[in-house]
Symmetry: C2
Subunit: 190 residues, 2 copies
């Protein structure tokens, strides 16, 4: 049976999320995997309040993750120097289940470079830089917060970083993750 | 034995994180808990490269989380309309371990209100609003992404939201979380 990959990322917020989901799933199949997209449950949210609908979606997404063998996260910066926090939550979730977590970003640069480009930072008393709120910009030469990057690296491969900035739904990094995933599941049915 | 609370939040980036840690730990003790701060391991990172140090810190934080009975997250917006993604990762991690996840924010407003205040959003074709990249601003009448908010709500209490905007290290919401936590651990040694 083909291993199942949870397709985490902010693509659910795109105007046509199912189009991206279809492209990602097709790529999964080419590499011997089954892709599972957060919207796959096809929930009927009729009549639910906002918070009721939100809790229902979250419960379904957690069930979908429990049914997957690994996760590939789109870690592209999202409304900030960092990735979508909902996707970060899902990376932590799968990590705690002991399953591999892979990731990619369609943008260049590490966290410090991107934070300084987006926000007026100043030198930090202890070295490095502070953001406008005085909070240290962590500098571990990583593309994002160390928790997520370390989860990927200890799963066996680096975060796949784009060589030039591309759209959030570009799949070059995703394809590289699939090749790395294939090495983690060498006996998969492909 | 007092239950152990993992103190997740962006306070680790403050100029004096140990001062905040001490205040949070003292509040924990008053409510019959032991607070565990991410910097508690007192790691010696001498001689390590940035990525090596990052991976070491992440491994230690995950070990600290495994040793805790619940988590209280500071979900205050961080360099964006949303919370710190490293803290979101930790919420997902503890959630997958089946342990209660509580949260608070020192700022007012829901995710849509804050996103619209921070970024030039426009009406979305499917209803609601889109951010400048065309990505839908999710609207579930929640203070942040539904994954984190639902994790808190299904742990038994709402996200504790400040009534007026306060500093990121304000402890009013944290104290309210401690009172909610005390109800989850009624037989704790207090």
């Amino acid at each position: 049976m083909s291993p199942r990959i949870y397709l985490a990322g902010p693509e659910v917020f795109l105007p046509d999320p199912l189009a991206v989901a279809a492209r990602k799933k097709a790529a999964c199949v080419r590499h011997g995997f089954v892709g599972v997209f957060p919207l796959d449950a096809g929930l009927d949210l009729t009549g639910l309040s906002g918070p009721e609908a939100g809790r229902r979606i979250a419960a379904v997404n957690e069930d979908l993750m429990r049914g997957c063998d690994l996760l590939i996260a789109n870690m592209t910066p999202f409304r900030s120097p960092s990735m979508d926090p909902g996707t970060a939550y899902e990376m932590g979730f799968m990590r705690a289940l002991g399953r591999p977590v892979l990731g990619y970003t369609t943008r260049t640069g590490d966290l410090v470079t991107r934070t300084r480009a987006l926000l007026p930072c100043r030198p930090h008393a202890g070295g490095g830089f502070a953001d406008p709120d005085g909070l240290l910009v962590e500098d571990f030469a990583m593309v994002d917060n160390l928790m997520m990057v370390a989860a990927v690296e200890t799963s066996g491969s680096p975060v796949m970083v784009a060589e030039t900035d591309g759209p959030i739904d570009g799949l070059g990094g995703f394809e590289r993750c699939l090749r790395a995933a294939a090495k983690l599941f060498p006996n998969a049915d492909r």
